[in-house]
Symmetry: C2
Subunit: 174 residues, 2 copies
């Protein structure tokens, strides 16, 4: 808070007239970033083949994380302590919902298209699986970037291979 105050050339206390506390400020920043991710997904549009759409979502997700690593950490790698929402918040839709909803919809469409193996019939579970896999690569790369015992390969390439393998693994044919 003091560092921010210095940067904006105000007193630390000034910030508290605009945000309830540090957590509220970070939540707002995180919400902005979530809207940016949702916008990036929206730009993909409703590609008719849901499988292709899933592939594109994966690519866009990796690109976003690599282009905005700090934001990515804030959004997906720090626990946000369950907003107490002291003065009854409008409780408007969580901004994370949009991006996740876009992925879930694509998963739902993919299931409906009948191209997936029969064990994949829960869109929520499928979405969590695909999302998590890519997240793991990005998160580990950030956290264990300079751990000597892992010689990191190019993340973009590994992510592409992972995405391809995962897609092959869930598809009914081939």
């Amino acid at each position: 808070m003091r560092a921010i105050a210095d940067r904006i050339e105000y007193t630390p206390t000034a910030i508290y007239h605009h945000f309830r506390n540090k957590e509220a400020l970070l939540s707002e920043l995180s919400a902005i970033d979530f809207r940016a991710l949702a916008a990036a997904f929206q730009r993909i549009g409703r590609i008719t083949d849901p499988i292709d759409r899933l592939r594109r979502i994966g690519e866009a997700y990796v690109a976003f994380a690599l282009e905005h690593p700090m934001q990515y950490q804030l959004m997906f790698m720090t626990r946000r302590p369950a907003g107490v929402d002291s003065h009854q918040d409008i409780k408007r839709g969580d901004p994370g919902e949009d991006a996740y909803g876009f992925l879930r919809a694509a998963c739902s469409d993919a299931i409906a298209s009948g191209q997936l193996r029969p064990e994949f019939k829960d869109a929520e579970e499928l979405a969590q699986m695909l999302w998590s896999a890519l997240h793991g690569l990005l998160a580990l790369h950030i956290v264990k970037e300079d751990d000597p015992w892992v010689k990191w390969r190019d993340v973009r390439r590994t992510a592409a291979r992972m995405n391809a393998a995962l897609m092959r693994g869930i598809l009914r044919h081939q």
Copy 2:
């Protein structure tokens, strides 16, 4: 540090006679946990089929993370700020190396067995892919446990599905 001091009924400063600082203490705790994970992997043994071995490693990894979530966070979800090693440390093998090495060896064997698709010929990359995918699920589940916009499915089941899909996706036949 003060909380730890309270628990062990010593003064905070007493800790500094055994550890250079908080980071050194956490590093040591992390190292202990890494040795425990390596031991769990060692217990799997050298199953002859490397594919089966990879599957078992994945299961053991998930089990470890779910049984020791705090330790998992310390090991894989917090950045450890590149040990400055002021007074020349013995630089003995990083304890994380053992567990990761076990996985990498299995990947190497899998590649050598010729059962994998031709694009997978880098053991390091393959290890990072398989490890990351499972890590992502576990990490997101911890961080986004009570975010309202994700209805989390049973992690163990999702992990099993992910593992299976990933294996199918890297295998040459089927």
